[in-house]
């Protein structure tokens, strides 16, 4: 196969989203300089409540993913290792804890290039609201809070161990949210601004709905946008979620994608294989992976990271009922159910997207995202009669990724799909 000439068809709107991300970090610095209290957060979407308190939020995964995609995350990991963190732990957490050490003055980055990038405002409060299944968030949050000597607030959805647990879990989640509101009022010294939250949730609903509409369009053959495009443009439903302008950007993106559908233009020059990516994105290799798959005529059209994590229940968002909206988007999501439910849900998604094969990303230090791999690989592959491969790597620690291994596994997957008469 000639891998050299085929490159992905880039969407113009993706780079605009990237610019908005960069501007948002500058805006956070500006607000801190104006004396606003600062929130650092990991997970989603609990920090939306901080937006309702008018507080700027530095979102861990949004920042770290962006830095990792640009090859700029090493100073944070160096700081973490110097602190004593072993590389086996969640690399998002390690990187953010490393950042905390840098911002707190415990690790010098004077000799590193781009040092200004890491001089971010100190937090006054930390919030951890991990995605379903992530117990590491509490360690992450407590570590950062301990470094700065600030309060940490954690919210975790209870697992729907049985389907019938949902109702209780929703009320438990809302209770936790109310407690967080109480903390925010203490931090700001003001009553909570429910009107502002309603406004924020309105923007959230618009953005998330548009994003799912865009991803639905990828059910078309050829898919007008790939998983890599949707990962690169995650900002409006992740770090930027609820900020003004996110809906407009996604409107623009939707128009661009609809145009492609009308003209039959795919995300990759020649789409012969449609794949599903389980697990998180391998950020340090975002560009390389995009090009690799495109060069092999493979389009990753759907994935757990893009489709199942970031407010995956837009229909449950009611701006007038923000606490319930957030609760549903934490509790009534596929990843909060058992593996059998995940197999059913992902198999259904694979049918809808006409998937030929599965790529099980083994982001090594994110056990929350890869623990179900065996279940999905066996269950979904068997249900649909399609092949699967694993692909090693990590969300933001590039040491765990091997190019040659990735090439071999992808090539083997596509050969297997072809041998089955597809592609």
């Amino acid at each position: 196969m000639d891998h050299q000439e085929k490159v992905p068809n880039r969407l113009n709107s993706v780079s605009k989203i990237g610019n908005m991300m960069l501007a948002s970090f500058e805006d956070i610095k500006r607000q801190a300089a104006e004396g606003k209290k600062m929130v650092w957060a990991n997970g989603l979407p609990g920090f939306l409540l901080a937006r309702g308190a008018g507080l700027p939020v530095l979102h861990a995964e949004g920042l770290i993913a962006g830095l990792a995609a640009k090859g700029l995350v090493k100073p944070l990991q160096d700081a973490a290792e110097a602190f004593g963190l072993l590389p086996d732990g969640c690399s998002y957490a390690r990187s953010f804890i490393g950042l905390a050490r840098i911002v707190n003055g415990d690790y010098s980055i004077d000799t590193y290039p781009n040092a200004e990038l890491y001089r971010l405002p100190r937090p006054d409060v930390y919030i951890n609201v991990p995605g379903a299944g992530c117990g590491t968030g509490r360690l992450w949050g407590d570590s950062v809070a301990s470094i700065f000597g600030i309060p940490a607030f954690h919210m975790e959805p209870r697992v729907n161990w049985e389907v019938s647990d949902l109702e209780y879990n929703l009320s438990d989640m809302i209770r936790q949210e109310r407690q967080f509101i109480g903390l925010l009022e203490k931090v700001t010294g003001k009553p909570y601004d429910w009107d502002l939250l309603e406004e924020v949730m309105g923007e959230v609903k618009r953005a998330v709905t548009l994003r799912y509409e865009i991803m639905d369009l990828c059910k078309n053959i050829p898919a007008p946008a790939s998983f890599f495009d949707m990962a690169a443009s995650i900002g409006p439903v992740c770090h930027l979620v609820g900020l003004p302008g996110t809906g407009d950007l996604l409107e623009e993106m939707k128009r661009e994608v609809e145009q492609r559908v009308a003209e039959g233009i795919g995300a990759v020059p020649r789409e012969r294989f449609r794949l599903y990516w389980n697990g998180i994105m391998t950020w340090p290799r975002l560009g390389i992976l995009g090009r690799k798959f495109a060069s092999m005529d493979a389009c990753v059209v759907a994935g757990a990271y893009t489709h199942l994590i970031f407010l995956p229940r837009p229909e449950r968002i009611d701006p007038e009922k923000p606490l319930e909206s957030i609760a549903y988007n934490l509790c009534e999501v596929l990843l909060n159910y058992d593996y059998a439910a995940n197999v059913e849900g992902i198999a259904r998604m694979c049918r809808e997207y006409s998937i030929d094969g599965l790529v099980m990303s083994e982001t090594q230090t994110c056990r929350a995202s890869n623990s179900s791999n065996f279940a999905i690989m066996e269950g979904v592959a068997r249900k649909l009669g399609i092949p699967a491969t694993t692909m090693g790597g990590d969300s933001c620690d590039e040491r765990f990724y091997s190019e040659a291994q990735a090439d071999t596994r992808l090539q083997a997957l596509l050969e297997t799909i072809e041998a089955g008469g597809k592609g």
């Binding site: 004593g84 086996d88 509490r138 954690h154 975790e156 209870r158 623990s371």
Partner: protein, 382 residues
């Protein structure tokens, strides 16, 4: 006289922890009592006992993972991989129920995986105890979760747990913990008295046998120990910290003492942590159990307290037992521990207490490397 009693009791304990699941199966067949396994750490076993069943803390066995390779990644912790592997091979089928503590991703994964591969084998529960201890509502949240689990246990046992049953079980478990604390105090006064591996066996046996029997044996053991004349302690004393959930492999316990140093105290789960705290009986039994689980005298790294204090705790304990150094044993891939480690390191450095961190793996590899590290550490203490 003392030594032969001690030797007899220790032999029984060593026997219990070797191939524990086979022994438990034999015990169950002989006694016709339901057996319920709890994953570490700190599930209130009293509730299971009060329902007339035998509670057992799941252990990491010596068998290498085989079938587990197709079910759980090699970069998950040893004990959860082992539980999944043993489960896949049918080694857990004799249990009448399993309760998993939702303390970390890996424990949760073990629960989900067994639910997937053994859907009909036995009832499986996930105990979602509130993780955030600094919440104002933590006591009511905790009681609510405990009540939910109590109902599950009652259904499993097919009988109610009344307050009297629970109070009696709490009293028995407190008595067992008291025996273990007295044992701990003897070891503290006589660090060369028993090998570290045997001290672990005493505690692990408590996790695997009926508390009634273990109490009887502990009474004999303590009598025997009082009659012994153990060698006096010289040389370097070490405090061993860490290893949540699973016991370090015997080869590692032997290695530490094989360097010539003596383990004077520990905070392992299969050590001091297991028996340090009682359930206070002033209020009702459910309040007692709740109170014990929320007791913050010993930091519980798998829960969130907002402040990470394990480091300060290790410093306190190391000073109390006058250890020359601390060995921090981290089970590889144990996130609750590895995220706390930098704070433990800082606290020990600030207190001027030398320490070494050793990562242990489920398959004992590179013992020589570990020996070199330990020896180099002891040379630093010279």
């Amino acid at each position: 006289m003392g030594e032969s009693t001690v030797s007899e009791v220790l032999d029984k304990f060593r026997g219990v922890i070797e191939k524990p699941y086979e022994k438990l199966k034999q015990w169950k067949d002989a006694h016709e009592v339901k057996v319920v396994g709890c994953s570490p750490m700190h599930f209130p076993e009293e509730m299971i006992h009060a329902a007339g069943m035998l509670p057992v803390v799941l252990q990491e066995t010596e068998e290498p993972v085989t079938e587990g390779f197709s079910l759980v990644h090699p970069f998950f912790c040893g004990i959860t991989r082992n539980i999944i592997d043993v489960g896949a091979k049918g080694g857990l089928h004799f249990f009448d129920g399993l309760i998993f503590n939702d303390i970390c991703i890996q424990s949760r994964n073990a629960a989900f995986t067994l639910k997937r591969i053994l859907p009909e084998a036995f009832p499986l529960f996930l105990f979602q105890f509130p993780t955030f201890q600094d919440r104002e509502t933590v006591r009511e949240d905790a009681m609510r979760e405990l009540e939910k689990m109590r109902k599950n246990i009652e259904n499993l046992a097919d009988r109610r747990i009344d307050e009297g049953d629970l109070a009696r079980s709490i009293a028995l478990f407190n008595q067992n913990r008291d025996f273990l604390r007295r044992f701990h105090d003897w070891c503290l006064r006589n660090p060369r008295g028993l090998a570290f591996r045997d001290r672990q066996a005493v505690v692990r046996a408590s996790m695997l046998t009926p508390k009634e029997e273990h109490c009887e044996l502990m009474a004999s053991l303590l009598k025997g120990l009082d009659q012994m004349n153990p060698p006096s302690f010289e040389g370097k004393g070490l405090f061993v910290s860490g290893h949540l959930c699973q016991s370090p492999k015997t080869a590692i316990l032997d290695l530490i003492e094989g360097t010539g140093a003596t383990v004077v105290d520990d905070d392992l789960y299969t050590g001091y942590r297991y028996y340090a705290l009682d359930a206070g009986t002033e209020a009702g039994p459910m309040e007692a159990i709740t109170g014990r689980m929320l007791d913050r005298s010993i930091p519980v790294p798998t829960r969130s307290e907002g402040v990470l204090r394990w480091g300060e705790y290790v410093v306190e304990r190391a000073k109390y037992c006058r250890a020359q150094g601390v060995v921090v044993l981290i089970a590889k891939y144990c996130e609750p521990h590895l995220f706390q480690y930098p704070f433990i390191k800082s606290a020990l450095n600030a207190a001027g207490i030398p320490h070494i961190m050793l990562e242990t793996e489920p398959e004992v590899v590179s013992l020589e490397g570990m020996r070199t590290r330990l020896q180099a550490f002891l040379e630093m203490l010279d």
